[in-house]
């Protein structure tokens, strides 16, 4: 399977299509939105104004337009989110794939490293590193990748391990194929759907954690992003003054984007495992239990 066929199948899947439309809309807004609205940092009106015909979503505590801020904030937030998702999967695939394919001592060592990073609480580590580095999107990217790669490495290691033991890989080895060719031609194509869903999962994590860190004031507060919007909302006492319209739109955008990404992931799951398409989501989980191998389930990551 390559990206072309995966994308075609995603388009023809009902859930994934809906998800792609939602995420596509946000990407579109992030690309052209900032030119379509007025300057998000301009002090255009009285502070703490209710939504009106002039300012559709009201104004912030400093008299800026909330709609303009929400639209303009999409760009950096999405860019950091997708870039983190990509790097997390890349890093996870490198570490997890190496561990799973090579096995033995290398696997023991890398697995130990993965487990150490998994057991350490991510948020305090993120806060401390972000506090030392100069604030900005690149800092956030680095911090999120550093604290987020381990989970994907673990998942991708397990998959590589299973594939490396499979008959067709053995056949390739016996027929004298090089390791590079086995990895790129035999193993990677079979991990495409898992890596895609890992990428989407990592993006959801990155957006949530990034907004959380920026909300804490660890981003570049002079930039307009969803996280800094919430930071300023809290800083300008939006809560105490009852200005709900300042922080509600951003929250809904994050939830809607997360929902869209999750829908795409359902689609990817169904394509990777066609039997799922005819079953409901809950029925799927039932079957997953029936084939449970007795391994210990763990809580899947901290959800901010």
């Amino acid at each position: 399977m390559n990206f072309g066929t995966l994308f075609k199948q995603l388009i023809s899947n009902r859930k994934a299509r809906a998800g792609l439309v939602i995420v596509g809309l946000f990407v579109l807004v992030s690309l052209i939105g900032p030119w379509a609205v007025q300057d998000p940092t301009a002090f255009t009106a009285m502070p703490h104004q209710l939504p009106s015909t002039e300012h559709w979503l009201g104004t912030t505590g400093q008299g800026q337009d909330v709609l303009a801020q929400t639209v303009a904030g999409t760009r950096v937030t999405l860019a950091v989110g997708f870039a983190t998702g990509f790097l997390v999967v890349l890093f996870g695939a490198l570490v997890g794939g190496t561990a799973g394919y090579l096995g033995g001592r290398t696997d023991d060592l890398l697995s130990l490293l993965i487990n150490v990073f998994l057991v350490m609480p991510g948020l305090p580590l993120m806060v401390v590193i972000a506090a030392w580095l100069p604030p900005g999107p690149l800092t956030l990217l680095a911090v999120l990748v550093l604290t987020g790669w381990a989970w994907n490495a673990r998942v991708l290691r397990a998959q590589t391990l299973a594939l490396a033991k499979s008959d067709f890989v053995h056949a390739a080895k016996v027929s004298g194929e090089s390791s590079l060719r086995i990895v790129t031609v035999e193993i990677l194509p079979n991990m495409l759907s898992l890596m895609t869903s890992s990428f989407i999962g990592a993006t959801i994590y990155a957006i949530g954690a990034q907004v959380g860190l920026e909300f804490l004031g660890l981003g570049d507060i002079s930039k307009v992003t969803w996280g800094t919007n919430l930071y300023w909302a809290s800083n300008d006492s939006a809560l105490l003054l009852g200005s709900w319209w300042i922080f509600v739109p951003t929250g809904f955008c994050i939830a809607l984007l997360g929902f869209g990404l999750t829908l795409i992931n359902f689609g990817v799951d169904e394509i990777a495992n066609p039997r799922l398409a005819t079953e409901s989501r809950w029925a799927r989980q039932l079957r997953a239990d029936a084939t449970d191998d007795g391994s210990t389930p763990v809580v899947a990551g901290w959800v901010p």
């Binding site: 130990l112 487990n115 150490v116 057991v119 350490m120 609480p121 991510g122 948020l123 305090p124 580590l125 806060v127 401390v128 590193i129 506090a131 030392w132 580095l133 100069p134 949530g208 907004v211 959380g212 909300f215 804490l216 004031g217 660890l218 919430l230 809290s234 809560l239 105490l240 009852g242 709900w244 922080f247 509600v248 951003t250 929250g251 994050i254 939830a255 997360g258 929902f259 999750t262 809950w282 989980q285 039932l286 997953a288 239990d289 029936a290 449970d292 210990t296 389930p297 763990v298 809580v299 901290w302 959800v303 901010p304």
Partner: protein, 328 residues
């Protein structure tokens, strides 16, 4: 028995390694960052402390002109003596004392919320699996996943806005009412519970879904096994089958998840504490970040990490006691 000890020691070794990584990261992070860590760290002390005291503080963090390995040893030595330096924002209080007050509030809030969420979620999950396809089973999971799509701290803000500010049912900040003194007296204890109620409720709502789904899924698997059919065939009361036979065995994975969840809650409660201005570790951490109080920040990172590692090891022991299979 010796295998048991060996297993526990191996796990202890793993956590010791993780702790060492955290301690070393704590040492390396300031040194790997751009700029002179000593300059950044002590910039805020200027004018507040005499040069002798600053020199002592440099010693604590190993920020001397000595070679790196000697700096590291000096840092380790001070750490093992429980010396984490002096807080800037709570000057001249030692970091250890500041952290100690925060830690008890954090453990109280996160611990209470976690236990409520664990008990409630597990019970609901067991019930949902028992009446599969029933009202609880079909309504609660999607609803809770929908709530999970919103950023946690955003929901907490909304809760504070609606119930604290709008309706005025709950206090807006702090952990106990003004005018009461911490201790074993009724006004203080009642006030502390009242202040913890809303923050704890937001944690419970955010984490309930995970427990419920995990319990439901294991429970469904357990309910399909032969010994449940046999128990039913023997004519045992449904209640007895549900609690003594099914739920008891399905509980195990949830308990294993408890240690990890404690880490997430203790780490994640940072946001709760910040929003509700609750004086725990998280609130201290963000205060430290805002005040550029690096000694306090480093100390907090270390304590939170060590607390999480300790909790995980405790859960390993509990799992070992509950599940004979892990003893092998």
């Amino acid at each position: 028995m010796s295998r048991l000890v060996e297993y526990l020691l191996r796990r202890l070794g793993f956590y010791a390694l993780a702790a060492w990584v955290a301690i070393t990261l704590n040492f390396l992070i300031p040194r790997l960052m751009p700029g002179d860590p000593a300059q950044i760290m002590f910039a805020r002390f200027k004018g507040e402390m005499n040069p002798v005291a600053i020199a002592a503080l440099r010693e604590t963090f190993g920020l001397t002109d000595a070679p790196m390995w000697m700096q590291y040893l000096s840092y380790l030595e001070h750490l093992f003596r429980g010396d984490m330096g002096i807080s800037v924002s709570y000057f001249p209080e030692p970091v250890v004392n500041v952290i100690a007050t925060g830690l008890s509030w954090s453990i109280f809030l996160a611990g209470t919320a976690l236990i409520i969420s664990f008990l409630l979620g597990t019970a609901l999950g067991a019930l949902a699996a028992w009446r599969r396809g029933g009202l609880l089973d079909s309504v609660a999971p999607p609803l809770l996943s929908l709530l999970g799509a919103f950023p946690y701290f955003w929901m907490a803000m909304l809760a504070l806005f609606l119930f604290g500010f709008g309706l005025g049912w709950f206090p807006l900040w702090h952990a106990y009412p003004e005018g009461t003194s911490p201790g074993l007296n009724l006004p203080f204890l009642a006030g502390a519970l009242y202040h913890a109620a809303l923050p704890a409720a937001t944690i419970v709502i955010a984490s309930l879904g995970g427990w419920m789904l995990a319990m439901r899924n294991t429970m469904v698997g357990v309910l399909g096994s032969d010994y449940i059919t046999y128990a039913r065939a023997r004519g045992l009361s449904p209640r007895r089958v549900l609690i003594r036979y099914a739920a008891r065995n399905a509980l195990l994975p949830n308990i294993t998840g408890f240690g990890m969840a404690f880490g997430f809650v203790l780490g994640g409660a940072l946001l709760t504490e910040i929003i509700f201005s609750y004086p725990g570790q998280g609130y201290l951490l963000i205060q430290a970040v805002r005040a550029q109080d690096y000694p306090l920040m480093q100390g907090l990172f270390l304590t939170i990490t060590l607390a999480v590692l300790g909790a995980n090891w405790l859960v390993d022991i509990v799992t070992l006691m509950l599940d004979p299979r892990t003893r092998r």
